[in-house]
Symmetry: C2
Subunit: 246 residues, 2 copies
DNA sequence: CGAGGCCTTGAACCGGTTCAATCCTGGTGG
DNA sequence: CCACCAGGATTGAACCGGTTCAAGGCCTCG
């Protein structure tokens, strides 16, 4: 990565990884050099298509993207929502193809990491390789938490999603205790929680009336974070922001 | 791994990984040497407890185990079911601790891989490291498929679980088209599908009456695999049994 | 023969869905 | 400048898949 335009595209990822473990400047530079380009995507455009062989992986720099698949009845299921700093389809580095689509939920910028470059870097820097492996393992932990979340009430599911996004956005400086920008529609929330848009709407109204949270025009305004966390039964340890040893 | 008793504990894992990529004899031997011991667990005994630092990971050799957590209301949620050949808590190698419990569903034998030994082996053999990374990425893919499955009807969920277990067991020689041994209770199935035991029972009856499948006394007898796959909308590509290049 | 797990079934209930109509808002073209 | 339009948000009312509660039944094992 030498181009001026690419400056600092890995910084959010590094910030996040450094919450868990030390990363040397040399390692950070190596990772930076694995980035070949940055691409922009319009909302709803497909970033990576399921079952197509990949020779690059993409790191989300700006905006929101989802992993999603289309069910037999045509409904869309959102499997994960990614925020800046997430190495969205790093899974494809070891899997070769993905089992789902990656789609932009908002305007988004992604940095491109060719697998050839990633392979060189991970072969030469085993600790950095473990950190990247770590970040895909955290993705898996988030998936598991979603599975548990889906077993619960509509209110708990929606609250859990808001808590998770807040915690993940806070690490990269895009949220605080009072709220955050979230350019999604109620339909997006419905597809992410396996609820109907109608019921998401009613649930959001309940949350607003209870003073917990107000989600309106692309922004989450949190009224009572403690109450929200309680309803969601949100325990952030699954995000692994607190590992220590190298 | 020199002890006679440990002979071949990695063979199911290798069989599975070799469905996706070549693994040399030297790599296989290295992996074998990372195993220090084999332990037996009784049904319901805890194999790995959530939020406790781990210095070993465990490979399932025999029996069935689940990843599970306990929800706030005391209900148990099964997050994944593992079959022989699965490196169950390999995630702990990079995460250091797990966010959920690993519990034996049946009598089970697990091979112990100290993290120190895994670290040596993965530092020395980058390709083997990528294969282990690959296996955790497949775990994540399975989690995603469960998320999608939970968005569907009770019948589809249960059918999907049976299809997935059949496909995964077949790879390690423990299932064929006609059925397989599955020493779980209806309560286990309920906790894995986020249904009530009562409704699982009714769903199983429907499946039996439709000639799709008979689950009884620890064995799944498949009457109509094609029909089952259709109802489950089961597409096995997410299991990644078909990768090619090294 | 008794006890404890597990499976089975019925009946009432309820959280979330479905269908349909209306409202609101920001952007566009006449 | 305003009428129009499209996408998203909102609300009401009927409906239904799955839950809940409760009662038995059927094994296996001591």
């Amino acid at each position: 990565m030498t181009d001026e335009v690419l400056g600092g595209v890995t910084s959010s990822l590094l910030t996040k990884l450094r919450r868990s473990d030390r990363i040397t400047e040399e390692e950070a530079d190596s990772l930076d050099r694995a980035i070949s380009d940055v691409e922009s995507y319009a909302p709803r455009s497909i970033i990576c298509r399921a079952h197509v062989d990949q020779d690059v992986s993409k790191l989300l720099v700006e905006g929101f993207v989802s992993r999603q698949c289309t069910l037999v009845d045509g409904r869309r299921q959102i499997l994960a929502i990614h925020v800046p700093g997430d190495f969205v389809d790093l899974h494809a580095f070891v899997l070769k193809y993905l089992d789902h689509d990656v789609v932009a939920l908002s305007p988004a910028k992604l940095a491109i990491a060719p697998h050839q470059a990633l392979r060189k870097v991970t072969d030469e820097e085993p600790h950095l390789a473990r950190m990247l492996w770590f970040s895909t393992a955290v993705d898996a932990a988030i998936h598991r938490e979603w599975i548990a979340s889906l077993g619960r009430s509509a209110m708990a599911r929606v609250a859990h999603l808001f808590c998770e996004l807040r915690a993940r956005l806070e690490v990269v400086g895009l949220a605080d205790r009072s709220g955050y920008a979230l350019p999604l529609t109620q339909v997006d929330l419905a597809d992410a929680t396996s609820l109907t848009p109608v019921h998401v709407n009613r649930t959001l109204r309940q949350m607003r009336e209870a003073g917990l949270l107000d989600f309106r025009s692309g922004r989450v305004e949190i009224g009572d974070l403690v109450g929200l966390i309680r309803i969601a039964a949100f325990d952030p340890r699954y995000l692994y922001f607190d590992r220590i040893a190298r």
